[in-house]
C-alpha cells in the first residue's frame, strides 16, 4: 500500500501512463484469452494478466532508448515498453503487418526501435542477450540500461546464473527482473526453488538484490528506479525479484490448472489485483479521479477491440516471406 506522498510525487501524467499501461495489458490479455478460445489464434500463448505491475513498474523506470529482453510470457513487457498494440495483435494472429511480419508470433514479439529485444521461447533466453545489450551501451558510451525479465523457473537455467556472473564481473549496466509467479508450468516454487528467493543467488554473485510485492506498481517502480539509476551511473547490475501470480493458466488451451488450489485464482482476482491496488492508492491519494480511470478503461477497450478487428481482417504474410530474413546476405 503506497503512501500518499509516494503516489502524488510521481505526478499526474506518469500516473495516467502507468494506469493506461497496466489496463492495456490486462485488457489485451483478457481479450486474447477469449479470442484464443474461439480457435482463431494459432500457437502457444502465455498470458501476463496478474503481473501487470511488474512490467509497468519496471518500464516506468526506463527511457525509450533503454533495452528490455522478455520471456515467453512477453505481451506485458512489450506493451509496457511501448509496442504498438495492433501490430502485436497482428503478430499473435500470424498476420502480415505484425511486429515481426507474422514470423515470430507471441513468443517472439520484438521491436528493436523501442529497445524491446524480443520475447524468447527459451527459458532465461533474454538474460545473456541483455548482458550484450548492456555491454553495447557501455562500449558505445551511452547511458542506456538493459533489463532482462525471467521467470522463477527460468531463473534455474544455467544461462541465467552465468549471466548474473558475467554482468557482475563486467560491471554491466543491466537489471535482472525475476518474476516469481509461483509456478514453472505446473511445478511450484516451493519445489523448484525450495521456497527460496532468487535474490540471494544474485547477492552471492556480487550484486544487490531486492524482493518486492509484484502486485504493487509503486513498490516495483521504487526498486526499479533504484537499480536502473545505479546501473545508469556505472554502479553495475542488480536484481529485483517480484512476487505476483498469473491469473490464467501457463499456456492458453492446454492448462487445466488442477495443480492450483481451487479458489486460488478467485482469491487473486479479488485481493491481489494490481489494477485495484493502483486505483485504490491513486484515488485514495486524490491523485487521479474515478472519471479519469474510467476514461482510460474505455479508450483501452476500444483500442484492443480495434486491434482484434484489424488482426482478424488482415491477410496472411506473402508466401515469399518464408525465405526472407534468414540472412542479411547469403
Amino acid at each position: 500500500m503506497a503512501t500518499t506522498s509516494a503516489v502524488t510525487q510521481l505526478g499526474r501524467d506518469r500516473l495516467l501512463d502507468a494506469y493506461r499501461t497496466m489496463r492495456t495489458i490486462r485488457q489485451f490479455e483478457e481479450r486474447v484469452h477469449t479470442e484464443f478460445a474461439t480457435g482463431e489464434i494459432p500457437g502457444a500463448v502465455h498470458l501476463y494478466a496478474g503481473q501487470e505491475a511488474v512490467a509497468a513498474g519496471v518500464c516506468a523506470a526506463l527511457n525509450e532508448t533503454d533495452y528490455i529482453a522478455s520471456t515467453h510470457r512477453g505481451h506485458g513487457h512489450a506493451i509496457a515498453k511501448g509496442c504498438d498494440v495492433t501490430a502485436m495483435m497482428l503478430e499473435i494472429y500470424g498476420k502480415a503487418g505484425g511486429l515481426c511480419g507474422g514470423k515470430g508470433g507471441s513468443m517472439h514479439i520484438a521491436d528493436f526501435d523501442l529497445g524491446m529485444l524480443g520475447a524468447n521461447g527459451v527459458a532465461a533466453g533474454g538474460a545473456p542477450l541483455v548482458c550484450g545489450a548492456a555491454l553495447s551501451a557501455k562500449m558505445r558510451g551511452t547511458d542506456q540500461v538493459a533489463v532482462a525479465f525471467v521467470g522463477d523457473g527460468g531463473a534455474n537455467q544455467g544461462a541465467f546464473a552465468e549471466s548474473l556472473n558475467l554482468a557482475a564481473v563486467w560491471e554491466l549496466p543491466c537489471v535482472f527482473v525475476v518474476e516469481d509467479n509461483g509456478y514453472a508450468q505446473a511445478t511450484g516454487t516451493s519445489y523448484h526453488l525450495r521456497g527460496l528467493n532468487v535474490a540471494s543467488r544474485a547477492r552471492a554473485y556480487g550484486m544487490p538484490a531486492e524482493v518486492v510485492d509484484g502486485y504493487d506498481f509503486f513498490d516495483v517502480l521504487d526498486a526499479a528506479n533504484e537499480a536502473v539509476i545505479a546501473a545508469r551511473q556505472g554502479g553495475g547490475p542488480a536484481l529485483i525479484e517480484c512476487k505476483a501470480m498469473r491469473f490464467f493458466g501457463h499456456m492458453e488451451g492446454m492448462d487445466g490448472q488442477a495443480y492450483r488450489a481451487a479458489d486460488e485464482v478467485d482469491r487473486l482476482r479479488a485481493d491481489h489485483d494490481c489494477l485495484d491496488n493502483f486505483a485504490r492508492d491513486v484515488l485514495g491519494a486524490g491523485a487521479l479521479t474515478a472519471d479519469e480511470i474510467a476514461e482510460i478503461d474505455g479508450s483501452v477497450a476500444a483500442l484492443v477491440d480495434e486491434a482484434v478487428r484489424v488482426a482478424k481482417a488482415a491477410p496472411a504474410p506473402e508466401l515469399s516471406e518464408l525465405l526472407t530474413d534468414v540472412y542479411v546476405s547469403y
Binding site: 500457437g43 513468443m107 534455474n156 511450484g188 518464408l322
Partner: protein, 336 residues
Amino acid sequence: MERTLSYLDAIAEALEQEMRRDPSVIVFGEDNIGGMGCEGKLGNAWGPTKGLHEKFPGRVLDAPITESAFVGAAVGAAATGLRPVVDLLFVDFVGVCFDQVLNQAAKLRYMVGGRAKVPAVLRAMWGTGMRRGAQHSQSLFSLFAHVPGLKVVAPSSAADAKGLMISAIRDDDPVMFMEHKLLYFSRGAVPEDPYAIPLGVARTEREGGDCTIVAIGRMVHEAVAAANILAEDGIECAVIDPRTLSPFDAETVYESVERTGHLVVVDESPRQCGMASDIAALVAENRFRALRNHPTTVTGPHAPVPFSPTLEDAYPPNADRIVAAVRSTVAAKDRV
C-alpha cells in the same frame, strides 16, 4: 478387432511396460508428474508420462528447468546402473544441454575405453506444424546422427513408437528418441504385449518397382499419400521408413533402389548436412550404377521455421512436392 492406440499412448504403454519389467528404468523431466510444490493436484503432465507416477511411485521425478543438470544426471545414472528415460520436451531445448549429449553421453564409453556404458533414452518432440515458431519446431536429428556414440530413433507410427521405445530402453547405448509432435494423436493398431522393434532396421511401408521413396517421421505419411496418387498413373513407389536414423539401415534402401533405379528422399528438416542429403549420398556412392537418374532430395528450406500458419504450412514437403519429384526422376530415360 485389433486394438488401436495413439502414438502418444503407445509411447506411454512402452514406458509403463518397461518400468514394470525392469526396476532400473526411471523417468524424469519437467512436469513429468506435474504439480510438485503446488497446493492443488498432482498429475498435470500432458505427455506420455501422464499418470505414470501413480503406477510407479518414486520412479518418476519432476525436474526444475535445469536440462544440463538433469540430462547430465541421466548420463551419470545410466553409467551407474539405471536406465533413465528423460524428457527434453521440445528437441530445440537440446541447445541448453548439448554438452551433455555431445561430449558426455555420446563419448563417455569411448573415452574410458569401454569400461562404462550409457543406457539412457532422451525423449524429444520434433517437427513443424504446431505453430510454435522457430525455437519449437526443429527436427535436429541430423545433428545427432552426425555424432558418433549416439543412436537416433524417429518413429512414424504408433506401433513403431511402442516397439522402438521398448528397444531404446533396453539398449545399452544412449538413444535420442524423436517423437513427432504432429503424430502424437495419430492412431494405429498396437499389440498389447510388449514387443521390441530392433534399432537399425527400416520398414518398407509400401512396395513398388518404379521409384524408391525414403521418408522420415511425418513425411512417411506424405510419401504414402504421394505413392497412392502416383499409383493411379501406374507409377509404383516403394516407401521406406528408416525408423532408426543412426544406425541407418542402408541395405534396405539399396535393395529397393537396385529394383527401381530411382531415389527420392523426403525430410522436413533443412537439406544442408541433413539426413536426406546423407541418404542420397550413401546411395550415390554405394549404388551409383543402379541409379537411372540423379537422387532427389525433397526437404524443408534453409530457413528457420516461421510462426504464421500460412508460412509454416509451406515449410515441410508435402505429397504434391513428392509426386512432382518422383514424376521428374522416373521421366528420365535410362542413362545414355
